[in-house]
């Protein structure tokens, strides 16, 4: 197995690893993610029916209702949330949902801001391992 390392900005700290799920389009967690199953339920989303549970979710940006934070926190509480979230733009809804799950349940779902130039290489990885600390995040990719 070959590996490659990337650095990123920590939005929510934590350590996690998992297989990569790249969203083809932005997803509103509220109305778009079923917290009881972890699957995409937005009928207009190209990845309808796909599960985010345990995956390293790559979503360039967020979208939609501010009620998305509670949906993400609830999915994480039930063990149906992503292992980690990689973004290209800061998104407060995602950050708050992950923070609340960490504070209430001690469940770490690190959220990090990757560099645009690394995005393709990260998306091509089979799996990613993240270490997101207060001074920055390290991502290692298994290709």
């Amino acid at each position: 197995m070959s590996g490659r390392a990337f650095d990123a900005v920590t939005l929510v700290p934590g350590a996690a690893s998992g297989s990569v799920l790249l969203l083809d389009e932005p997803l509103s967690f509220w109305g778009g993610l079923d917290s009881a199953t972890g699957t995409v339920i937005d009928r207009l989303h190209p990845q309808l029916g796909v599960s985010v549970a345990g995956r390293v979710l790559m979503m360039p940006g967020g979208r939609g209702s501010s009620s998305g934070s509670a949906t993400l926190a609830e999915a994480l509480r039930l063990g149906n949330g992503p292992a980690a979230i990689l973004m290209l733009e800061r998104d407060a809804i995602v950050v708050v949902g992950a923070m609340v799950a960490a504070e209430l349940y001690g469940l770490a779902c690190p959220v990090v801001l990757a560099k645009g130039q690394d995005w393709e290489a990260l998306a091509a990885a089979a799996s990613l391992t993240l270490e997101a600390g207060p001074n920055g995040a390290a991502i290692s990719a298994d290709l």
Partner: protein, 413 residues
């Protein structure tokens, strides 16, 4: 860039003002970093939409705040809950959902929030003043506060509105700052369908700008004079449902738009949108998923919550034959008190009107599943009801809704 924290912010984080405030402020700091704010400002009021039950996490969050001894630091109103605490018998969902929903509403009262339970807090005694810095949740209330009142809030939601209330602080970004409040889209109403009332026009314009202005703040010109607060409420609610509109200007009407130049902050708009009578017809049509003449199971009014002025318009429309189907009217408990004082409750009941307080039929299981569509005069309700309630919808003016209730099917005037 790092956050510039005040002495008070540091005290909040350090526990000087209690463990609840510390918990809230730590979350707010993360949020501020995520939206790239540089500092915090004082807020004078908050409106919290976290008392609608979405699952265990929202209840755990409120109860954690209580366990930590938290209390809100500024006057805080509450949005609709999942159940009508005044008429609990109306609820048709599961017992567990009803219990958790009521528990979540009461948890917010323990934190010191006021029991308004309304999506129209601007109709209450807590209405903010022009220029007030506030932290509000609930999309229609945000649009109304910013646009019609000229108070200043971003689109706060889930958890963060309560954190602002618990600390009296909000990140200094977005619509809190003067430079971000100027219009960037110019919406010109070029022509209006014949015989349209202002109510229908407001919904059609709102629905269209929500869909077509993206993240740009619109300035609207060409609306006829005489738009009431209820019309502007309907416009904002529709725009905040079909899109993410948090602030709109109506030139010559809303307080930050005495003229076009002021509304645009002296800049040239990036987007020019001309709406014709045909566009507006199409917008109104797109809000109905059933054809005229389709069978109805119920009519729903008051999304956002019905005002006293709207009840005053409804009363004379109800004179005549008794409707064949139920009419639900959602309102705040304060408005319900006023309706009772004016002696309207009995005539409403006689006309098959069910008054719903504290909640709203489109977020709560209140309507008995029937073999027909639901008709509403609300762009917001028409937009969300198919997804939330799994029903077909018809949109029409208030008078058409009443006429349709009498006919038991979608009637046009």
């Amino acid at each position: 860039m790092a956050l510039d924290l005040s002495t008070f912010d540091r005290e909040l984080i350090g526990g000087v003002h209690g463990a609840g405030a510390t918990f809230a402020m730590r979350l707010l700091v993360r949020f501020a970093e995520a939206v790239d704010a540089r500092s915090f400002i004082d807020i004078e009021a908050a409106h919290v939409d976290g008392c609608l039950y979405h699952g265990r996490a929202s209840l755990d969050f409120a109860e954690r705040m209580i366990d930590l001894g938290g209390k809100v630091r500024v006057p805080t109103t509450l949005n609709v809950g999942s159940v009508d605490l005044i008429h609990p018998e109306l609820f048709r969902g599961t017992k567990e959902h009803a219990e958790n929903g009521a528990r979540l509403m009461r948890a917010h009262l323990e934190l010191g929030c006021a029991p308004t339970f309304t999506c129209a807090p601007y109709q209450t005694a807590w209405r903010p003043r022009f220029g007030a810095q506030i932290a509000w949740g609930e999309s229609n209330a945000i649009a109304f506060a910013n646009s019609v009142i000229g108070a200043r809030t971003n689109r706060y939601g889930d958890f963060i509105d309560l954190c602002c209330a618990m600390t009296g602080r909000a990140p200094a970004y977005g619509l809190h700052l003067t430079e971000n409040r100027a219009a960037r889209a110019l919406v010109e109403i070029a022509s209006i369908p014949d015989d349209w009332d202002l109510e229908r026009l407001a919904v059609a314009v709102g629905h269209t700008i929500g869909r077509r202005c993206g993240g740009l703040i619109p300035a609207i010109v060409g609306l006829p004079p005489g738009m009431s607060e209820d019309d502007l409420k309907a416009l904002g609610a529709a725009a905040a449902s079909s899109g993410a509109v948090a602030l709109f200007h109506v030139v010559g009407v809303t307080p930050e738009a005495p003229d076009l130049e002021t509304a645009c902050g002296g800049l040239t708009p990036e987007l020019l949108l001309q709406l014709t009578a045909e566009d507006l017809h199409e917008a109104a049509r797109s809000l109905s998923s059933v054809a005229d003449g389709a069978r109805l199971s119920a009519v729903s009014l008051g999304t956002p919550h019905f005002s006293v002025a709207e009840f005053a318009r409804l009363m004379p429309l109800l004179d005549g034959a008794r409707p064949l189907i139920d009419i639900f009217v959602n309102c705040s408990r304060a408005t319900l008190d006023e309706v009772r004082k004016r002696g309207w409750e009995e005539p409403l009941r006689a006309a098959r009107v069910t008054l719903v307080a504290d909640t709203c039929v489109y977020v709560s299981a209140l309507i008995k599943p029937g073999a027909g569509a639901v008709m509403t005069n609300s762009g917001k309700c028409a937009y969300y009801a198919p997804g939330n309630l799994g029903v077909e919808v018809a949109y029409g003016s208030l008078a058409e809704c009443v006429a349709s209730a009498r006919a038991g099917k979608v009637a046009r005037l």
